[in-house]
């Protein structure tokens, strides 16, 4: 008995000592969140453009670390989910501000370059009356106006490129097997009509994926008719310039919007 007592006491003492001196193990999720917070603070794009979102995320991480011992597993997982979302919101918001600031700086440089450019730099690139416009200044103006139009669109996929403002309506945005746009698509077309009313020189070509195909032709016609019911004159939605350059998705319809000042006698704009 005596020969067993000493090793047993020694083992118990060493176990007790290890409980006292070894540091508590860090929760891997907490470590990951803290590392993520440190990464955001070390990124100059985020640190310089972070607003209240990053301060809220910092507080969330600190609170979660502080409250961890008191929280049960479910509550901790919930808190970790919310904290991770807060960190991602902070990152996305800061990067958005950074990109917007860069865009403003580049836009000012573009204006400066256009103002300084000698006449030979802003040459006639294409035949007069064709698209894109013949000079950089006109192209810049059209781009700005189409971008303003795009900013007013809601619930609709659009892309601004060398063809103009290209709006895509897919097959699922129309009633199954029929020509009528769905209610959500009509609301999206309302936003397009409202935007076109703000710039009278905007014209739209409506392109079906398979010209001659009965369903897609009906859908293109339905889109033109709907825009007409929203006060857009038929000649503004019957432009045919886009037909050779644009392919609509299968079963869908594509609209190409352009600025056509000359057509509407707005050349002094």
């Amino acid at each position: 008995m005596k020969t067993l007592a000493v090793p047993a006491i020694a083992l118990g003492a060493s176990l007790l000592a290890s409980c006292v001196v070894s540091p508590p193990r860090s929760d891997p999720q907490l470590v990951r969140l803290q590392d993520e917070r440190a990464r955001l603070h070390s990124d100059p794009r985020i640190a310089m453009h972070a607003g209240t979102e990053l301060r809220i995320a910092d507080t969330a991480v600190d609170l979660l670390v502080q409250e961890r011992p008191r929280l049960d597993e479910r509550a901790f997982r919930h808190g970790a989910y919310l904290t991770e979302r807060r960190l991602r919101i902070a990152e996305a918001s800061a990067l958005a501000r950074y990109e917007e600031q860069r865009t403003n700086e580049l836009a000012r440089e573009r204006e400066r370059l256009l103002a300084q450019a000698p006449a030979r730099v802003d040459p006639v690139r294409t035949a007069p009356g064709s698209y894109p416009p013949a000079t950089y200044r006109a192209a810049n103006d059209h781009h700005r106006r189409l971008a303003a139009l795009q900013a007013q669109l809601s619930g609709i996929e659009s892309r601004l490129d060398e063809r103009g403002l290209v709006v895509t309506l897919s097959d699922y945005q129309f009633e199954n097997g029929r020509g009528e746009p769905r209610a959500t698509t009509q609301r999206a077309l309302d936003s397009l009509a409202n935007a076109m009313r703000t710039d009278p020189a905007t014209r739209v070509a409506v392109v079906a994926s398979e010209p001659g195909d009965a369903l897609e032709t009906r859908r293109a016609a339905a889109v033109r008719a709907y825009l007409a019911t929203r006060g857009i004159a038929p000649e503004r939605v019957n432009a045919d310039y886009a037909a050779p350059a644009v392919q609509a998705p299968r079963g869908g319809v594509r609209l190409v919007a352009r600025i056509d000042d000359a057509h509407y006698g707005l050349t002094d704009r």
């Binding site: 809220i56 929280l71 919101i89 300084q116 730099v121 619930g155």
Partner: protein, 124 residues
């Protein structure tokens, strides 16, 4: 007084053994989540941040189902997740639109500099 009362309330409410989420908390959380989800969808988050926007909609549905079961804690937690999913979808949509706009303007500046005989970057 903590500045971020909402987080403190959320964490303390989640303690379970100390406080239970009440019906009013769940109603408020669902209302806030619903507003955030609608705002995200109006901002075209379904086009630019589909996974986050869909997660928001799913959590909102879970919150509403839990509410009909009178499970206030489940409902509140799901609604809180929905609200932050929607806020994240909106933030990502803003970031991606801003990046696309910057790329476009940058391409225009590069072309203008090239045609002016200037180097691709730096002062004119």
């Amino acid at each position: 007084m903590l500045r971020h009362r909402w987080l403190w309330v959320a964490l303390v409410a989640c303690a379970g053994s100390v406080h239970a989420a009440e019906r009013e908390d769940a109603e408020l959380a669902i209302a806030q989540a619903s507003a955030a989800v609608q705002a995200a969808e109006r901002n075209d988050a379904l086009l630019h941040a589909a996974p986050e926007a869909n997660a928001a909609r799913e959590h909102l549905l879970l919150a509403e189902h839990a509410f009909t079961r009178r499970d206030w804690l489940d409902s509140t937690q799901a609604a809180e997740k929905a609200r932050l999913d929607a806020d994240l979808a909106s933030a990502l949509t803003r970031e991606r639109r801003a990046t696309a706009a910057r790329n476009e303007v940058e391409a225009g500046v590069r072309e203008l500099r090239a045609r002016s005989g200037l180097p691709a970057g730096g002062a004119p």
